[in-house]
């Protein structure tokens, strides 16, 4: 893992963990964080699909779009059913800020350098979100259906992390 990747990972981890420790998250806030986390990965994948010519990287990115759109569609349907309005909060704002910085960084890279940075960030990003889901978001969720969807999301993110690690190994 590069130093830059580690720093991004660490920043994202702080963004996810700090507010949760400061106060209990509500279900509308958790829903917003989870939805934001998915959208960030979709946006990153779309950027990769625009810039990368690597078949493996593009296939991975297409999978990220497909899976995270599926989860987010389910999340939207759930909040509608529960009459819950996702509530913006400091954690999701921090996630978005970190993602914007990463997108700008990736925007300056091309070719193999882009591919490596995108995939390395995917590894660290999924790892960070996995930690947040396990330690904070799932335990804090009150509604059973939301908790269940988050658990599905955790399994998905874990698989994506392993998948990203496989792709990263191929790029070395």
């Amino acid at each position: 893992m590069t130093r830059a990747t580690f720093l991004i990972s660490a920043a994202a981890a702080v963004a996810l963990a700090a507010p949760a420790q400061a106060a209990d998250l509500t279900d509308p806030q958790i829903a917003h964080i989870a939805y934001t986390a998915g959208n960030i990965d979709i946006a990153a994948a779309k950027q990769a699909l625009k810039k990368s010519k690597n078949k493996t990287v593009r296939s991975f990115a297409q999978q990220m779009v497909r899976d995270h759109q599926a989860v987010n569609a389910k999340a939207l349907a759930l909040v509608k059913k529960l009459h819950v309005t996702p509530e913006a909060n400091g954690t999701s704002a921090s996630l978005t800020k970190a993602a914007n910085a990463e997108r700008a960084k990736l925007g300056k890279l091309r070719g193999a350098a882009f591919d490596r940075e995108y995939i390395n960030n995917e590894v660290s990003y999924h790892k960070t979100v996995n930690g947040a889901l396990s330690s904070t978001l799932i335990p804090s969720a009150h509604n059973g259906e939301l908790k269940s969807l988050l658990q599905t999301g955790l399994k998905l993110f874990q698989e994506h992390q392993a998948h990203a690690e496989q792709v990263a190994a191929k790029l070395k």
Binding site: A70, V71, T152, K155, L156, Q158
Partner: protein, 107 residues
Amino acid sequence: MIARLPILCAAATGALLLVSAPGPAAAATHVVVIDQMKYGAVPPLKVGDRVVFVNNDIFRHTVTASNNSFDLDLMPGKRGVLRINSAGRAAFYCKYHPGMRGRMIAR
């Protein structure tokens, strides 16, 4: 070690199981559910059995032989059928989620 794959036919249509010709009298149909990014366990199989994979997950999955001899592509909520033609072992995985793996043994 993966022996020659025991699959006679594979189809990702829900209707196949209903319309295909009946198998030998001793043949059984086994349902294997895919959910939460995992394949359910495939029970021990006999030649002539059918294995129905039901994708209860919210994601698209495949049941793809490691040697590419069969490939079910299952959208969420869909099912596909494999018919066991001969004894052997088969390892399979999901093309979209390579961490998802399973295996089946037919005697």
